[in-house]
Subunit: 596 residues, 2 copies
Amino acid sequence: MSYQAPVRDQMFVLKDVLEIDKYANLPGFADASLDVVEQILTEGAKFCEEVLAPLNHVGDKEGCRWFPDNTVKTPTGFKAAWDAMVAAGWPALGSEPEYGGQGLPRVVSIAYSEMSSSANMAFSMYPGLTHGNYSAILVGGSDEQKALYLPKLATAEWGGTMNLTEPHCGTDLGLLRTKAVPQADGSYRITGQKIWISGGEHDLAENIVHLVLARIEGAPAGVKGISLFIVPKFIPNADGTLGPRNEGVKCAGLEEKMGIHGNATCVMSYEDAQGWLIGEENAGLKLMFVMMNEARLGVGLQGLAQGEAAYQAAAAFAKDRLQGRSLTGPKNPDGPADPIIVHPDVRRMLMDSRAILEGGRAFLLWTGLHGDLMHLSPDEAQRQKSSDYMGLMTPVLKGYLTDKGFKIASDAMQVHGGSGYTEHFPASQYLRDVRIALIYEGTNGIQALDLVGRKLAANGGRAVMSFFAEVDQFVGEHEADAELKPFVEGLTEAKAKLQEATMWLMQNGLANPDNAGAASTDYMHLFGITGLTYMWALIAKTAQAKIAAGDADPLYRNKLTVGRYFLERILPEAGSHLAKLKTGSATMMALEADAF
Amino acid sequence: MSYQAPVRDQMFVLKDVLEIDKYANLPGFADASLDVVEQILTEGAKFCEEVLAPLNHVGDKEGCRWFPDNTVKTPTGFKAAWDAMVAAGWPALGSEPEYGGQGLPRVVSIAYSEMSSSANMAFSMYPGLTHGNYSAILVGGSDEQKALYLPKLATAEWGGTMNLTEPHCGTDLGLLRTKAVPQADGSYRITGQKIWISGGEHDLAENIVHLVLARIEGAPAGVKGISLFIVPKFIPNADGTLGPRNEGVKCAGLEEKMGIHGNATCVMSYEDAQGWLIGEENAGLKLMFVMMNEARLGVGLQGLAQGEAAYQAAAAFAKDRLQGRSLTGPKNPDGPADPIIVHPDVRRMLMDSRAILEGGRAFLLWTGLHGDLMHLSPDEAQRQKSSDYMGLMTPVLKGYLTDKGFKIASDAMQVHGGSGYTEHFPASQYLRDVRIALIYEGTNGIQALDLVGRKLAANGGRAVMSFFAEVDQFVGEHEADAELKPFVEGLTEAKAKLQEATMWLMQNGLANPDNAGAASTDYMHLFGITGLTYMWALIAKTAQAKIAAGDADPLYRNKLTVGRYFLERILPEAGSHLAKLKTGSATMMALEADAF
């Protein structure tokens, strides 16, 4: 069975759990009635299933090819899929109408992005980063820049990239050396080498817009001297048509990687390339973080998306493969053996996956909705709260969902047994592809540090306090509800542990910042578990109400079962994370470096 | 930095922790004084570091090639390395002197195997499976068969394979269809297709001896009708020289796999191939399990070995890569940034890895020593106990060490950041190579089921009771020792949890076998953690005694630190496994199969 987009589950979350129709008074939401959303997602599912998914394996096998004239050829079929995607308007779902976008809520475009990423992660990175590029120019560009670039980026007629990393400088951007020399005409000449540039060169779009971090001559050292530049492959004329080739920018080669072979990971060489400052001088990092934060959420989504695709392949294999007999007696007595889905340990892997995926999908959409509300809500308190949540949850979603997506992909391979290790089945590609998501846009360790070092402390801890209050309110409202008892109890337990960990961090992280660093990854996971426990409580409440109202759709009963499984089999990890993080940094840091 | 064999740590375990010189009265050990062992391992380290390790990347890049004449070419350099290995006698370390082996204790040959596997897993599988083949013929072969095959297999002049899997039949061997037709001369004609045959065809050795499971015409259905056959590629003459090509056996192709590209994973076609029954008719599975059990321990070792190699690469990278500043102030103030090993979250990954690797190495060697004692001890009670331990610990080591080896390899990639995802660094290969170890020789789920379904219950639970008694004795002897307090407490806690889980299984697994299946993987991990906690207690006791005696070697202090880290940061997982497994199978099995 090939990938089937989970539109039914997405609609359950959007319609029943998040009740997005409550926001019909807001711009964007007004045009996104539940019927319209369902129609869009159903059409999107068709495109992802029928056009993108069949190219996934091709992309892995063929990869991208670099030629000595500095061009890059993407795998067979990618260009046609790109053109079909642009024609159908998929990249523009969430972009502003004034620049040719459809102006749908972010929460809706995220649902589409999940299926696109599941169907073909390597392909979907091209429009994904293009939209990040769009967002940065939208926030930081001059009116002229916006008019020139946004209509082309919104539709993905042009591609977009982000250029941060240099060979000696990844996480630590303060070290970057690429330089920008001001020209008399107001432009700059950019010189330097950038590596790991996803979609830095390809044959999909007629133009590629690079956003490049560089240091203007004479700028301060470190991160305070970094500016952001627009460096287009072809310099557009004022009317948006293509002008001359920007000769100074070229792709000097491709990285050989473990996965996402269909995405061109480029070494980009800038030699007096023509670029234009975007935003203020020396304020480039902040602007790049507009793109980066969007990308981080998108990477968390990739973890979920690859997990979903891998889970589906595993579930299909487990129902098909006949091997052994159920421990409780044959379930397929007329066949030579039972399908392996009868074995508890196979179920364990599938149920683990679902408990994370369905909870994770809700968490991502819930956060995405706050991403809308932080801009659109007429209520200032709501805007602040939503903005706080976006900041707080972005590293959690990026780190937790990619760690778990990798685990789900590995479990999916395990369900396949030996077949999964061969390249005849899709499990290997999912595992190899998703592995990058734990690394790029800031490794998961960096996410954890961002969480404990910045997001927690911001505004006196307002964001996390707000989250605790919301959880407490849910618990208070439902603690008398017998049907929801295990969910309310589980949520109470998870929140108590997260709160204890938060207190521990406040008391120990300031005195010795290594304690914060030593606790960070366990704290991030504890936060992820608590977030998902809350989501499962919301889902259970919704499902329970449907059942109580007489709705016989098995989805609701199944939700309660998977939710209980989450409480039984995932939630216990919370205690382990708390115990670990409270041991602090002393032993962790005790060895001399040369003892390693 | 390239791979450095951990001879110092191995000698610490062999000499100081296990005190193998105590067994000098036993055959094999008599010739293995500590000096001799150290000399052998030092020489072995040189071979592995200088000959095998440099071929690891080559093997990954080139892979094996199949040709239409059914031959297979291994990667450049493999043949020369094989010849050097045979000439040096490395494969024969643990084989019987009467067949040309060196007769060293198993515990010593395991130490060599670890470094060989770390240096080049794909290569080392060829001699590894050859030795498994040797062991099966040693146990089950006739005197004539032993005389004919064992001297060539001991030295690896000939290669050996095991042929179990067929396309429709992996774990469930009862389904196998390959048939054997008796011939007038006492031989059989074997016909069928076998898949995933490691080393089924190659250009390394002049002959390849296949052990093939097949069903003699008219044999009972299921596993009770399976016999084992020797099917040599070239039929040997009575004097051991090569006779004619066994035309009916050939390699029909190679699998394309995620890793271990240097090892030829063959589709083997048998068409009236000439074979000879080994052992009794219809008793083939038992004999194959001689090879299988050895192979399972060897796969646990691969998990450890790839983890070690990956850890070393990560540690070297972490000391070299300059990025960011320590949270507690610059540690490399004259450089542009600090090496990333100053960051707690990087330390966390390195320390996690060491806590598992050093404890796991001790656990593997401790079990290997029991593998010697079960045969060699003059004390029947000791032989029985050691044999019980081998049975009990084999699935634990296979499952736990490969799960953890994969995690360590993934963490090693994470330490590398983006570099780790490219194929310019070794992290990707380690991760891709080690992944098969969770699957072959029985998936880890099968190991867990073997543990809870067979090994625990055997002889009324004698093996696990014996292990608990040994742990209790250690605790009793050391509970007054202030220096060892955290280790004794940790061990007490781990054992209590394992005992509680064991009781739970006894009470709930019989009533509903799905409860045993649902608990199995968590139980296996809980067992692995308890085993390592015991090893760390033994290591700490040893190190503490050395320090008390005035030995200033930093190794001993470092052992205490890494051991404490294990207690702080790994042991807490025990509670999570216990809590999960006690939830039983009801929720896990509740969904209908078509809900997946």
